[in-house]
Symmetry: C2
Subunit: 186 residues, 2 copies
């Protein structure tokens, strides 16, 4: 057996063997990701990421990862962390990037560099309940990608389309997703 | 003039004076939040949050905040950070919490503790392009809140409804939002 084929740091043989395993047993494709949050004070809260369920089992192998969330002073916070809508852009940025790289790698397209910028419009009147006509969430999000690779612009644009088509965070944002929120009485 | 009225760490006078200022001049409610991302290797990328536009001006006062995103080994990464869909749950957690606290404070309800848990279902067949019937994004997200305050459960449930109604991240997820993604040719 030869060495594993690695493109853009992605183990392509690993990727295709995952695809094969899922085709044989679609249940292992079902993942559950989790977070916990604790309010600290005012607009400051702290989130923790640790375990997840995937590939048929619980995975508790990671050390907990801690995130502070806060608002800047103009939004009544003390800058103890990025704010929640900024975290959403961070999520989108990582997901589009990974999606682009994974699908480029599967097509054996070598990428030297990928950089991207994100800007989202938010009208505070929604959050403050000052207007029923204003969206509470982001109104629009604009994303700009720079890709350094020996391929024509048309192929870069095709990679960007694939990044969108297959990105879980992108699709969670552009499509409506059910979120149930309940009081835990215990 | 007396001391500022502070409830749950939120300066209520500041909140109401913001509301008044926005009623007089709705333009100052328009914010733009931003992120930048740089691919590092394989499923690892790095996002930066720094400036934003709001209250009628650019705000460059924060030090850049850096986030690493990666996947666990079962998803071909090396655990160099939480993964993008986990960041999305972090974003949701901070936003629902802040929304709950801000709206409780505006109603002068004192809160001692708020904790919440998040779980989202993701079927990898979407990301891998193995099935057209499977959602690429989160299928469902479940949220459970524990609230410690001297109010009956019905009022806690009302706070949870308000948290959802006014949370920008929640509304970005449950409603469809336009995201335009372009190749930056410069």
């Amino acid at each position: 057996m030869g060495e594993a084929q690695v493109i853009n740091g992605i183990n392509i043989d690993g990727l295709f063997s995952t695809v094969g395993a899922i085709k044989n047993n679609p249940k292992i494709a079902k993942f559950k990701f989790r977070a916990a949050n604790k309010w600290i004070d005012a607009t400051h809260s702290r989130a923790t990421i640790s375990s997840f369920y995937g590939a048929g089992k619980e995975d508790n192998s990671r050390e907990p990862i801690i995130f502070d969330l806060d608002e800047p002073p103009v939004l009544l916070g003390e800058n103890q962390g990025a704010n929640p809508v900024e975290y959403l852009l961070v999520a989108l940025s990582g997901c589009l990037t990974t999606s682009l790289i994974a699908h480029a790698s599967a097509r054996k397209i070598k990428i030297r560099k990928v950089e991207s910028r994100y800007e989202g419009d938010l009208d505070l009147r929604g959050f403050l309940g000052l207007s029923e006509d204003v969206k509470v969430g982001f109104e629009n999000i604009r994303v700009y990608f720079k890709i350094d690779a020996d391929i024509p612009d048309e192929q870069k644009e095709e990679l960007i389309r694939m990044a969108q088509k297959y990105s879980p965070v992108f699709n969670t944002i552009v499509n409506p997703v059910n979120v149930s929120v309940q009081l835990d009485k215990n």
